[in-house]
Symmetry: C2
Subunit: 205 residues, 2 copies
C-alpha cells in the first residue's frame, strides 16, 4: 500500500534543486514573480524548507546571480582565451559571447545586475562580478601592448566595450531584430568602437 519510494524526511539535495528550479522559474516567470512557495510545491517540500538554505528570497536570488556571474565568466574567458588572435577578432568574440549570454538568459542577466546594485549586496557577489569581467581588461591590455588600443585604464576601456554591447542587448529586447541581424550588428558596432579606440598619431585610417 505504501509507495515503495516514499520521500525520506530529508530531501537530500534541496539546495541544489532549489537553484535549478529557481533558474527555470526565473527565465519563465521573471524574477519579480518567482515564488518561494511555488518552488517548494514543485519540489514537494513544505513552504518553509527553503529557509534552511536561503534566509529570505533575496538570498536565493543572490545565489542565482552568483551562479550567473560564474556562467558569464566562463563564457567571457572562453571567448578571450586565445591570446594569439588579433585584438579586433578577440573583441568580436567577446561581443558574441556577451550578447549570446544576454539573449539566452535575459531575465537572469537583468536580475544579476539588479542584485549587484542592491543596497546590501553580499561582497561575494561583487567579487564574482569582478572576476567574471576581469579577462576583458586583460585583453584590452594585450591590445594596448600590441598598439591597437589607446592608452588608458584597461578596466574603463573594457567597460566601454560592454557599454556598446549592453546597448545592443537592450535594443534586442526591443524586438528590433527579425533574425540573425543582431549578429551582423555586433561586428558593426565593435568596428565603430575599434575605430575610436585606435591610437591616432596620424588621422585614423
Amino acid at each position: 500500500m505504501s509507495k515503495p519510494e516514499q520521500r525520506p524526511y530529508h530531501h537530500g539535495n534541496l539546495r541544489e534543486e532549489l537553484l535549478e528550479a529557481g533558474m527555470k522559474m526565473l527565465e519563465t516567470t521573471g524574477a519579480r514573480d518567482l515564488s518561494l512557495r511555488e518552488l517548494s510545491r514543485e519540489l514537494g517540500v513544505s513552504h518553509t524548507a527553503p529557509r534552511r538554505h536561503f534566509p529570505d528570497k533575496q538570498a536565493l536570488l543572490d545565489a542565482l546571480a552568483l551562479h550567473g556571474f560564474a556562467l558569464l565568466g566562463v563564457a567571457i574567458a572562453k571567448a578571450l582565451k586565445d591570446r594569439s588572435l588579433d585584438f579586433k577578432t578577440r573583441l568580436v568574440k567577446l561581443g558574441r559571447a556577451y550578447v549570446g549570454f544576454a539573449v539566452k538568459h535575459p531575465a537572469l542577466l537583468s536580475m544579476m545586475f539588479a542584485a549587484k546594485h542592491h543596497d546590501d549586496a553580499p561582497a561575494e557577489l561583487l567579487a564574482a562580478a569582478e572576476r567574471a569581467f576581469a579577462p576583458s581588461s586583460l585583453a584590452f591590455e594585450d591590445g594596448q601592448a600590441a598598439g591597437d588600443v589607446i592608452p588608458g585604464d584597461s578596466k574603463d576601456l573594457s567597460l566601454l566595450a560592454f557599454t556598446a554591447m549592453q546597448g545592443l542587448v537592450s535594443l534586442s529586447h526591443n524586438g528590433i531584430f527579425r533574425g540573425e541581424k543582431i549578429d551582423l550588428l555586433i561586428g558593426g558596432i565593435l568596428e565603430h568602437l575599434i575605430l575610436g579606440l585606435k591610437p591616432r598619431k596620424e588621422p585614423a585610417r
Copy 2:
C-alpha cells in the same frame, strides 16, 4: 467637533494625485514595491478607490509609463528642435537629453521599457513610445540630407544612437562615474559613433 474641512465623499482629483504620488513612490521604492494600498493610505482614500481609475496595478504602471514617454518625448524634441545646427551638435544635444532623463528618472525609465515590452501592453503605450522617438529619426534624415550620415533606414540609425546612449546609461547605473565624468563620455561615445556613421567615399577623416 467636526473638522472644518472634512474630506468630501468624492476625492475630486484622485486619478491625478494617484499618478503624482505613484511617480514619487516609483522613484523612491522602485516599481516592484509600489503598493496600491500604500498609495491609497497616503492620499487618504480606501484601499479600493484606485480601482475606479486603474483596474489593476499594471494599469497604473502603464499610465505612469505613458506619462514618462510624454516627458521623454518633450525632452527629445526640445533637444533637436533647432534644425539649423550641424548634425554632430544636434546628436550631442540628443545624447545629453536622453542621458539626463535617464539619470533623473532611473526607475521610471526602466519601468517604461518593461511596460512597453510587457506581453499585452496597450497599443496606446507603443504609440507613445513611437512618438517620443520620432524626432530623432527626422534628425538623422536631416543628417543624411546634409551628407553627414550614411544612407540607411533613419529609424535604424536612430536606434543605433540610442543603443550607445543606453549602454552609457547602464554603465552609469554601475556607479562608474564619480561626478560629471559622464557628460564628457557622452561627447566621446557619440564622436565614435559619428565617425562610424560618416559616409566613406574616401577613408574617414
